[in-house]
Symmetry: D2
Subunit: 289 residues, 4 copies
């Protein structure tokens, strides 16, 4: 059993991390710190953990931060993660955007002279456990609210990781608690066919235990859909190509608190410790939810 | 045109009152005050009023309050309101609870030796425009949250107006922005039939322009439903009697910001001024919404 | 490994049962039958099971039904279930209503000369996977819709199990996918105090691994709340007594597809087979959701 | 008073048209036809119209259709509409997409060598009053569901009206009953500045009574938001330009049943009849909703 301390555990990501680690067979959570909830029982902050732990939130000394972090997205940096000492968390928007582009970029199918447009649709838990005026239910329910037209910070991060030169990324809030759908629009190189795309996406799905392709001919869930991913660590990928004009749409759906936060963190930890990559992350997801 | 000043106009009730009065043919809104939004354009506080008014929020001197107010529910006190100088606003929970009981009480059909139980289900705009931890969308969405098991203040108010001796009133928040449904459970006096109830409810509906009976044999909207009342001043009443054991269930659905706040206020103003009771309150409601 | 066949597995309850049994350490699902989805892959019907099973839906012969079934609610009939050959599923409304009353009835605290009133608030998955006019999203979103004023069938079932003579049960649909909150209103016998109630509720919680008491002085989740129970088998109980007039409100929150359907079924199976009662039902629940 | 007959009035668009025309000062609704609801009272089909009309649905003879229709979007064809005999209804997706592009196209600001990408986010009432498997609340709630990756029919229509050569249009359903947000991504010609865009958008807003610009520096409602447009005929436009790389994002929010259906239809009728363009369409919209 490896002892784990969670520094700053009162947010939604911290709560999700706790949920995962309390069930993880290789670790024992020894400490949870929180400035804002010092002295409270952890289950008072995270009501779903009632009867699961008797830990209390402690006040912690500021840790010293080292400069050499590996970008914590296993689908991009699995090998480096295995030997890393420090790993940075990757935000949910960047995770979904990176993974939406990954198969296309890895197989070199995109025409980079045409801009890449990404629209990210997000749920309300993404903004954290601290509410604000805009997250008040009466204002936040029933919205389609574009809150960041160019999402500058995320745009730069994805452009770097995906080696894209001309990109625009827009973020819109919708009425949902958990979930992110990143939809990437690009043009493929001349001659690229749907068959080429299948090959590229299958390659990525085969290499990564938490990547699935969702591209059905019938039923309701034909394309990636965050609705059925709550609590799961899967990143569901889908795509569609219009062969007449080269427009490709690539989608990635994740649970922002799992694959977009706590789930990826545990996945990274598993790789760093040499444990099975999927340990503690087996939850399938619920339907309907 | 009568000049109107709204003292404290930045909340949801104030916004709704502004919406109504800006379209009211007999009044002109001359002033809106707000401590928290002093100097801002009114449409910056109430985005739906964009292009409807160029008024700004002012800082106001504290008004002196007089002690003789009439309880501002026209269905209970229409005659007094016509000669009143000061009228108190009636909260949405009390309004819906009072109206759910009104036909039964007025016709003397309830067995008062058995307790009256009222369950009030409410939307999120009821808690006002100032958010709190519990109104954060990620926490407030998807709830069935009992936040006041005995609703003391409202219970006393309804017991007084309805002359009920033994009553319990419970309030539960559900995932909806606008709307209140009060469900009152009681026992009828021996021998009372469904026919007697029809007579009692029809009498109340006939005397009050904003009371409708909803009791359909088929379709989706068989019982009072706040969903279709958003923006409307109607109070929809329904009932069901189990003649085998005397249990009666009486329901009242309203829009908490209209019939439960700004709508009733305008209705009272119309009565006080001798104008037609329904002036400025003609909006039918939307479907679906 | 015990082989399991699910007869009629294409509904929401069947899907949830499949999710649980695919992860259950003692069983292997050998067969899933469905009339309406004959020949389809199970994951086409239940999209969250993608990559979890390659089973297909079969057409099955009608099984013969035996007459001696035990009522499948472990909190009421744990001993009988251990030796039962056939167990009936208990619906979610009856489960929540029974459990809300259980501590009060078991400890003999209710004054049975006063009627018991139960209000059940339910989510949309309760009506099953087959939609109807009323479940169309545009009609079903944002509702507080009383769809069964006296809930006759459920009323009789709960009155029998709980030995209550005068009861009324009302069912109201709210905007939520998963979850049931049953709120029971009754009068306690003269002299009964909050302390007596604590004792009664603690006794039930101690005897039953999936019953928790939720009665907090602060925070958002002070009372039982189905929101945080999605995917979990817990039944959260809460109560409040007004000692001045004897009114007691008792609440039970469950996930209708888990403790209200598939979860209780697996719990019964565990008892019938002599396995640990909680096997395969350890999922904690998500927050926020 | 002009007599009006509504052919096919039982859908959501028909209901909204009825709501508008019942309050329209220049018309009288003489007839409503419906195949599926023949003989029913109109208020049984549209519950918000209870007490507003005693009309019944009739069975109608199939009308003969003429070939010369004017495209019924006043913002594009106001002059032709004034002399038109027949006007085609314009769908909500095309309306929002056309209006999002209109200021940019009219002022000639777009670089047409770069593709135009439009993402349309829609609510559930768009799919009509007849439900289907995918519109079942348990499946449709909490979704971000891409249901048409290339939206072929709408794409062609917008490309024609807006004279765009290379375009891709994607449609995604979100959890909302009423509302459409079309977000158009394009590149501006070299040298175009934010100031040029303001001029172009102001010109369109000034010419059209139902077009507003929403581009605030603070508050929650900084960009066009369908949430506050329910029941209103406004089309709210917003934009953002990244002057460093020429990416422009243009947004149009509408109520799909009003400006996207019944509202535009009444606006066209007003123009055809020579009445004031805004007659019967004055409703401001609600907040919060």
């Amino acid at each position: 059993m490896t002892a784990v301390s969670i520094i700053g555990g009162s947010g939604y990501g911290g709560g999700e991390l706790l949920r995962l680690l309390l069930s993880h067979p290789c670790v024992e959570v020894k400490q949870v710190t929180s400035r804002s909830h010092l002295g409270e029982y952890v289950y008072q902050v995270h009501p779903n953990l009632r009867k699961q732990t008797q830990l209390k939130c402690e006040k912690h000394a500021a840790p010293e931060w080292l400069s050499k972090f590996v970008y914590g997205l296993p689908e991009l940096h699995r090998a480096e993660l295995a030997s890393a000492d420090y790993v940075s968390g990757v935000g949910c928007n960047a995770t979904a955007s990176n993974l939406a582009l990954l198969p296309l970029v890895k197989a070199g199918l995109i025409d980079l002279s045409s801009p890449v447009i990404i629209e990210v649709k997000v749920g309300s838990s993404e903004s954290g456990a601290e509410g604000n005026t805009g997250s008040h239910h009466a204002e936040r329910a029933n919205v389609i609210r574009t809150f960041s037209t160019f999402g500058h910070r995320h745009t730069v991060e994805v452009m770097q990781e995906m080696c894209v030169n001309d990109m625009s990324l827009t973020m819109t809030a919708v009425d949902l608690v958990r979930g992110v759908l990143a939809t990437a629009h690009a043009k493929v190189k001349q001659g690229v066919t749907t068959k080429d795309l299948w090959k590229a996406y299958r390659a990525v799905a085969n290499e990564n235990p938490f990547v699935r392709i969702v591209k059905e001919q019938r039923g309701i869930y034909r394309a990636p859909e965050p609705k059925i991913l709550a609590g799961s660590n899967y990143a569901d990928l889908g795509f569609e190509l219009d062969e007449t004009n080269g427009h490709v749409v690539s989608m990635c759906a994740i649970d922002n608190l799992m694959k977009g936060a706590a789930g990826s963190a545990v996945q990274c930890m598993n790789l760093m410790m040499g444990w099975k990559e999927t340990t503690g992350l087996e939850f399938i997801g619920l339907h309907p939810i």
